[in-house]
């Protein structure tokens, strides 16, 4: 127990990220099921309008910040150091800090479900209810007097610190801790996409932090950043949010793209087609992702020039995305294909992501978008890219790397059941939403009239959501079964080309008994020019220094939610206590003897 609380081992932190994020993922899923129950028929009465608002807000916020980002982070943590031949990340304690801040931030946000009585309201009454993009000026105190939005804006600020800290850590890790000979253009694509993602994180998160700080000052200290009457404009929030928000969607998809780029070559037994192009398109997507944000604001009326510019950049960004899709398909072409579950998910990713990309391009055009924006059509789009894309990609990664992370292979037959149920379920759930939207049903409305003519489609969609739930039960059963009865994994159950497969599953604390020297992009495969590398010996030739644990990252992390409680409860001294805890944590951390 203590060794887990104080751990600085990237592998353990990766597992902590996985399990925490998975629990949040299930929570977000349950919220989605209640939403779908409410919408299963017109004029539904499962929940009230107020509860419904909290459900969709917390669903979106949870899935983005507490499930998908940290599930990706679990692979950054576990896999990236192994792929670059390192013994740990560059700053192991900072890594632990990121995890604890994430956990506490997630708990802080979700505490809002239960603490209503402390604010003289019922349970299930004070959770955030302004949508995951929390548009001002709905979020101002005048229109949202309760503590709901406070939980949201404070929780997101805490979570931002976690992501930022991890961002610096992984940038340095990937650039500076590579094994000898592992040049940048020999990095596995997953590691490359991780690197691009971290650059997006460290540049995009400060922007939303500023937006949230403004909101905080408006709500607590009577500032007017988004108050129209004072000469301000709520549009500022939209700009700041989407300046962050669009890079954020790439933060969510690039890691999954990286995973797929690892899984496809392994199971097609062919190097990735056009490695260089895939890497450069990833970088290009990262850059261009900064120039499209106003496509979320076409309905605002930014004027013909702004609309045209952002429509053009949005259509352009589909090009590098499309390039990647062709590269993946070409990787499969003529390959010696093994239809493992991981490959099923990877191919499912490609197919679903194409549909999501197409609907994306269809609202890149402002006149078309005016028909689609704020309707279920956009909900269909985001679920094809985030569920069909990111989640499918993450599951490909889970089936692929689970044996490395735990030493046991997940069951393939159960995996296939999981895949097909989820694949069918998601299409049944989300495809009808295209029609529901075009027929005129707005998003974020707790009910609809039978006259709208979308009742049947909504029922179908709800059935699909429950199919997805069943598929996840199958997955959980698979995890459970694998704990004791899963086949034990060798170093390399799949015949992978990258370094993580050269060491035992799960790897020893020190990862590599001897740090390998890399001479090719596919070190473990025979290529025209290179023989496969020799795997590191099973026992290290000499003692290896492994950093010990530390309590200080966790101590420091506790300071943040304490500080956040201060405005929430209007208790000034809590701010000082929180800051004090943070400072004590940082000093303890800085001055304790700790050698990486």
């Amino acid at each position: 127990m203590k060794s887990w609380l104080t751990t600085t081992d990237h592998k353990r932190i990766g597992l902590l990220y996985f399990w925490t994020a998975f629990v949040f993922f299930l929570l977000g899923g349950i919220e989605a099921l209640v939403i779908r129950l409410q919408l299963a028929q017109p004029s539904g009465h499962v929940v009230s309008a107020e509860t419904y608002n909290q459900l969709f807000t917390m669903h979106g916020t949870t899935m983005v910040f507490l499930a998908l980002m940290p599930l990706s982070a679990s692979f950054f943590n576990y896999i990236v150091p192994l792929q670059i031949g390192a013994r740990d990340v560059a700053f192991p304690r900072l890594n632990a800090f990121s995890y604890w801040v994430f956990l506490l931030g997630g708990l802080f946000l979700n505490a809002s479900w239960f603490v209503g009585p402390l604010f003289k309201a019922g349970m299930l009454n004070v959770a955030p209810d302004g949508g995951w993009f929390g548009y001002a000026n709905l979020t101002e105190r005048q229109f949202s007097p309760g503590p709901n939005i406070d939980f949201w804006l404070l929780g997101l600020q805490i979570l931002g610190i976690s992501s930022l800290a991890a961002g610096f850590n992984f940038i340095v890790t990937i650039l500076n801790l590579r094994a000898p000979g592992l040049k940048l253009m020999r990095l596995p694509v997953f590691t490359w996409m991780t690197l691009v993602t971290q650059f997006l994180i460290i540049t995009a998160f400060p922007v939303i932090t500023v937006g949230l700080v403004f909101l905080m000052f408006d709500r607590f200290f009577g500032a007017h950043f988004y108050v129209h009457g004072a000469g301000a404009t709520p549009l500022l929030w939209q700009h700041l949010f989407w300046l962050f928000g669009h890079p954020e969607v790439y933060i969510l998809i690039l890691p999954a793209m990286g995973i797929v780029s690892e899984v496809l070559p392994t199971f097609a037994r062919k190097p990735l087609f056009g490695y260089t192009v895939v890497v450069y398109s990833g970088i290009l997507i990262g850059f261009m992702g900064w120039g499209v944000w106003s496509h979320h604001m076409f309905a605002v009326g930014l004027g013909p020039i702004a609309d045209s510019v952002f429509a053009a950049t949005t259509m352009l960004i589909a090009v590098p995305t499309g390039v990647k899709i062709f590269n993946w398909i070409a990787t499969l072409w003529g390959g010696d294909i093994r239809g493992t579950t991981a490959l099923h998910f990877a191919v499912g990713f490609i197919a679903m992501f194409i549909i999501g990309g197409l609907s994306g391009v269809s609202h890149a055009s402002p006149p078309a978008d005016l028909q689609q924006t704020d309707t279920y059509y956009v909900v269909a789009h985001i679920h094809y890219v985030l569920f069909g894309g990111t989640i499918m990609g993450l599951f490909a990664g889970i089936y692929y790397w689970w044996p490395k992370m735990t030493g046991r292979l997940l069951s393939e037959p159960l995996g296939k059941w999981h895949f097909w149920l989820q694949f069918i379920g998601m299409n049944v759930a989300f495809f009808p939403m295209h029609f529901i939207g075009l027929l005129g049903m707005p998003r974020r409305i707790y009910t609809y009239s039978p006259d709208l003519g979308v009742s049947d489609l909504n029922l179908v969609s709800t059935v699909g959501a429950f199919l997805i739930a069943v598929s996840l039960l199958v997955f959980i059963a698979n995890l459970w079964r694998t704990r004791s009865r899963g086949e034990t994994a060798s170093n390399d159950p799949w015949g992978g080309a990258t370094l993580e497969w050269s060491i035992p599953s799960p790897p020893p604390v020190y990862n590599f008994s001897v740090i390998p020297t890399i001479t090719s992009r596919l070190p473990r495969w025979r290529t025209e020019l290179h023989a496969p590398m020799q795997d590191p010996p099973a026992t290290p030739p000499g003692p290896i220094h492994v950093p010990g644990g530390s309590w200080w990252p966790m101590v420091a992390a506790f300071g943040l939610p304490l500080m956040a409680l201060a405005p929430l409860t209007h208790t000034l001294w809590l701010a000082f206590v929180g800051a004090g805890v943070l400072i004590v944590g940082i000093y303890g951390w800085a001055f304790e003897p700790f050698e990486v």
Binding site: I171, F214, A232
Partner: protein, 197 residues
């Protein structure tokens, strides 16, 4: 580029660069976006306040020029501190570290005086948009200065205890990076907020 062997850290690194310094530059890059967003907001809201006081009513250029000068000089003290620590001259290292922190404190004091005066003249965060954007922008900067002062004083105490020497030159260099960055942010704020009214 084969200088890996001369790198200041004992560890092998693939780029031959110090990891902490690299992380810190990435952090400074990230801070560019933080202050970039704050300054952008100040600019897009410029001239949109519906009631006074307006910038030209209360900004005190002579006073702030002195603060600016003070911060610039603190940057000079900082590089002198680094140079002293690097050549192992801890006597001057201590003096310059302390003077840097002291000038930082003077700057903060100036800011406290300025803010108090503004409040007396009727400008608070809730008065108008100028108040909102001004206090949050300069306040965020001030908070950075405060962190820097704390950090410098910590180094100074370590030096007094004899636990800071040329072996820790990288720590001092990184502190300097932070301090100078805070200084360049002020260079921009001074121009954008105070001089271009």
């Amino acid at each position: 580029m084969t200088h890996a062997a001369h790198a200041p850290t004992a560890h092998y690194t693939s780029m031959g660069l110090d990891s902490r310094k690299m992380a810190f530059w990435a952090f400074i890059g990230s801070e560019c976006l933080l202050f970039g967003s704050l300054i952008s907001t100040y600019l897009v809201y410029k001239g949109r306040s519906v009631v006074g006081p307006y910038p030209h009513d209360i900004l005190n250029i002579p006073f702030t020029s002195v603060s600016t000068f003070d911060l610039l000089m603190s940057s000079l003290m900082m590089v002198l501190a680094l140079a002293a620590v690097q050549r192992g001259d801890m006597k001057w290292g201590k003096i310059w570290l302390f003077s840097t922190a002291l000038l930082g404190l003077v700057f903060l004091g100036g800011q406290v005086i300025e803010f108090t005066e503004f409040v007396h003249k009727g400008l608070t965060m809730s008065t108008n948009l100028f108040g909102c954007t001004f206090f949050v922008l300069t306040g965020t900067h001030g908070a950075h200065v405060a962190v820097g002062v704390l950090w410098l004083l910590t180094l100074w105490v370590r030096a007094l205890q004899g636990r800071l020497g040329p072996a820790n030159a990288m720590t001092v260099e990184i502190t300097g990076l932070y301090w100078h960055f805070v200084d360049v942010v002020w260079i921009i704020i001074f121009t954008v907020v105070y001089l271009i009214q």
